[in-house]
């Protein structure tokens, strides 16, 4: 083919852009006369071996077993800290903070709602194994295995006390985050936990500026407020909190009987040490009873209000789904409200799908997100109401103890207890006696 012919074809291609749909090449590949051979391309790099995934799972189980031993049996903060740094290096810096159980919530949710989604076995394991450990031994995962917890725990230098009411109020963010993550994962809209993971950019030492700034500010806050992400944002932490209430064994401040010396009172940087309580004083009891009754009545009201608020957010929630965004854009263009096109609308037109199909899909997704939004709102309302009820019930406690839900099992409080020093002395003497 002469050059002239080629340029002619080129002009034709310009004139008839739909030529690409014909199904053959615009320019037939040349037949070389000089004996030219295609260059040998270097082989494409293969994907990471599946063996590493099994290694990750094995490391997780081993770290959890070791953490349980160090936290409940050895009772050594130094050993717990060491393990914490090791897992930070492994899951955080070496494995780049992906995979983690927090994000795995979404994979498991999507599996439950989308039958075509095939979950990686590691994601399933990472979701379940820490939950099982929590049912037996409390939040050992938070204490020494979670890389996100570890990076915050390591920067905590001067803890300030967060008032209990503020702590409970801020924790509402974590419940909302969990609900939203489940909603968006179930509808196949987005994996928001992964999208807004604040520390993954540090682990990779590269990433989006917004996320780097978010992570840096959380770490800055973390210098003074212990583990801000874990306490106020972590969606997996919410699940662990409630399972930890049921656990077989968990952290006890004292290895023995509490002598109420009050030495541990300020030991916990996360405000998870609960002081002994008395019964309600005579006069207050009646007020407290009335308050409890009020909150019990208020609970369904809050659930309903939350559901209504969530439902009214349906438009905004639906826009998280890319299909809905495409449909909205296409509608604006097709109804003539906007004349210019975007990459999204051009790409959609190139697929040759009818826009009616797109609109139908979008309507269905909108409906699902409206129902989901109402459920999410109701859930948040229930959490608020439940917290109010829980605050107006007084639990009797005879001694200082670690809050079963809020304790991260970091082991800081052990050395504050004089009984613990006694135990250590005894065990040292016993060890010396053996020699």
């Amino acid at each position: 083919m002469t050059r002239f012919a080629r340029i002619l074809t080129f002009t034709m291609a310009l004139l008839v852009p739909c030529l690409s749909a014909v199904g053959e090449l615009r320019f037939p590949p040349p037949e070389f006369e000089s004996g030219y051979q295609f260059p040998q391309a270097a082989p494409l790099p293969t994907a990471r071996s599946a063996l590493y995934e099994y290694l990750d799972s094995a490391v997780l189980v081993a770290a959890l077993l070791l953490a349980s031993y160090l936290i409940l049996r050895r009772r050594s903060r130094r050993a717990i800290f060491g393990l914490m740094i090791l897992t930070l290096l492994y899951f955080g810096f070496w494995r780049d903070g992906c995979i983690c159980p927090i994000g795995a919530i979404q994979n498991v949710t999507l599996t439950a709602f989308d039958s075509s989604y095939a979950i990686p076995i590691t994601a399933g394991l990472f979701f379940m194994v820490p939950l099982v450990f929590t049912l037996f031994w409390g939040r050992v995962f938070c204490g020494a295995v979670c890389p996100l917890g570890a990076i915050q725990d390591a920067v905590l230098i001067r803890p300030v006390k967060v008032p209990r009411w503020l702590e409970s109020g801020l924790r509402l963010m974590a419940y909302t985050y969990l609900g939203a993550a489940v909603l968006f994962a179930a509808t196949g809209s987005a994996f928001i936990i992964c999208r807004y993971d604040p520390f993954v950019a540090f682990f990779r030492l590269s990433g989006n500026w917004n996320i780097l700034i978010l992570g840096a500010s959380l770490l800055l806050i973390g210098l003074f407020v212990g583990r801000p992400y874990c306490r106020f944002l972590c969606p997996y932490g919410v699940m662990l909190r409630h399972l930890s209430r049921l656990s077989r064994r968990r952290v006890t401040i004292t290895p023995d009987e509490c002598i109420k010396c009050r030495l541990c009172e300020d030991a916990c940087p996360f405000g998870a040490i609960r002081e002994p309580t008395e019964d309600w004083p005579e006069g207050e009891y009646k007020i407290a009873k009335r308050r409890l009754a009020l909150f019990l009545v208020l609970l369904p009201v809050l659930v309903a209000a939350g559901g209504w608020a969530g439902y009214s957010l349906k438009e905004r929630l639906a826009r998280v789904h890319p299909r809905v965004r495409t449909a909205e854009r296409m509608y604006l263009e097709e109804s003539g409200q906007i004349t210019e096109t975007t990459n999204v609308s051009n790409a959609f037109r190139a697929t040759g799908q009818a826009s009616e199909v797109l609109y139908k899909d979008a309507a269905e997704i909108r409906h699902r997100l409206a129902v989901g939004g109402a459920l999410l709102g109701a859930f948040v309302g229930f959490v608020v109401g439940g917290k109010l009820v829980a605050l107006s019930v007084r639990r009797r406690r005879a001694e200082y103890e670690a809050d079963p839900a809020g304790c991260f099992a970091c082991g800081r409080c052990y050395t504050y207890c004089p009984k613990e020093h006694e135990r250590r002395k005894k065990s040292r003497e016993a060890a010396a006696g053996y020699r």
């Binding site: 080129f10 320019f27 590949p29 260059p39 494409l44 780049d96 498991v108 990433g207 990459n343």
Partner: protein, 189 residues
């Protein structure tokens, strides 16, 4: 006192029941995973027949320099002199002058083969995955240049941030055993 004791037993009974229920719940999740798991791990890849070369691959990847690189399918390439993947629209001259090159990093090499054919090769160390050449080649050429996720670089994020920003939904998860979606002559259009 007897009443107190009964209360404790009731509470204990509820606790135990809840504990068992939670364990069963986790077990159900385990069963679901085993039933629906993916024996072959999956990785992210671009379907080159959906890609429109918008440029998001270069900017949205979590890595400083994107895991996406351009690939040349020589069997599809037309070896054009006036390559719209290599040259800017309305080039000053059909040569290797920098002002004529479309690639912002100069990652495409043009070598003379025989009249009127030129070979175009990608220098992957320079390629930043912006897809400008892909777009040019798709628009007026054979579409032999296309983008692929390189698995030595890809971190295989749970949610690929380029996939979330891809306007043509070209990102899919593919089996790790066959991690590339290459353009073939018989599928070319």
């Amino acid at each position: 006192m007897a009443n107190d004791k009964e209360d404790i037993t009731r509470r204990k009974f509820l606790r135990e029941g809840l504990w068992g229920a939670c364990l069963t719940g986790v077990g159900t999740a385990a069963g679901l995973t085993v039933a629906r798991n993916n024996r072959d791990n999956t990785v992210w890849q671009i379907d080159p027949y959906k890609c429109i070369g918008c440029g998001n691959c270069a900017t949205y990847c979590v890595l400083e320099r994107s895991a996406v690189k351009c690939v040349q399918a020589y069997a599809i390439c037309g070896y054009c002199d006036l390559c719209t993947g290599y040259l800017v629209p309305e080039p000053k001259a059909l040569d290797t002058g920098a002002e004529n090159e479309l690639c912002p990093t100069g990652a495409i090499k043009r070598t003379y083969v025989e009249d009127p054919y030129y070979e175009y090769t990608i220098d992957e160390t320079l390629c930043n995955g912006c897809g400008k050449c892909v777009k040019g080649c798709l628009a007026f050429g054979n579409g032999s240049l296309f983008l692929q996720v390189r698995h030595d670089r890809c971190k295989n994020c749970n949610e690929c941030s380029i996939a979330a920003a891809c306007p043509s939904r070209a990102y899919t998860r593919v089996p790790a055993g066959q991690p590339y979606l290459l353009k073939r002559v018989d599928l070319a259009k």
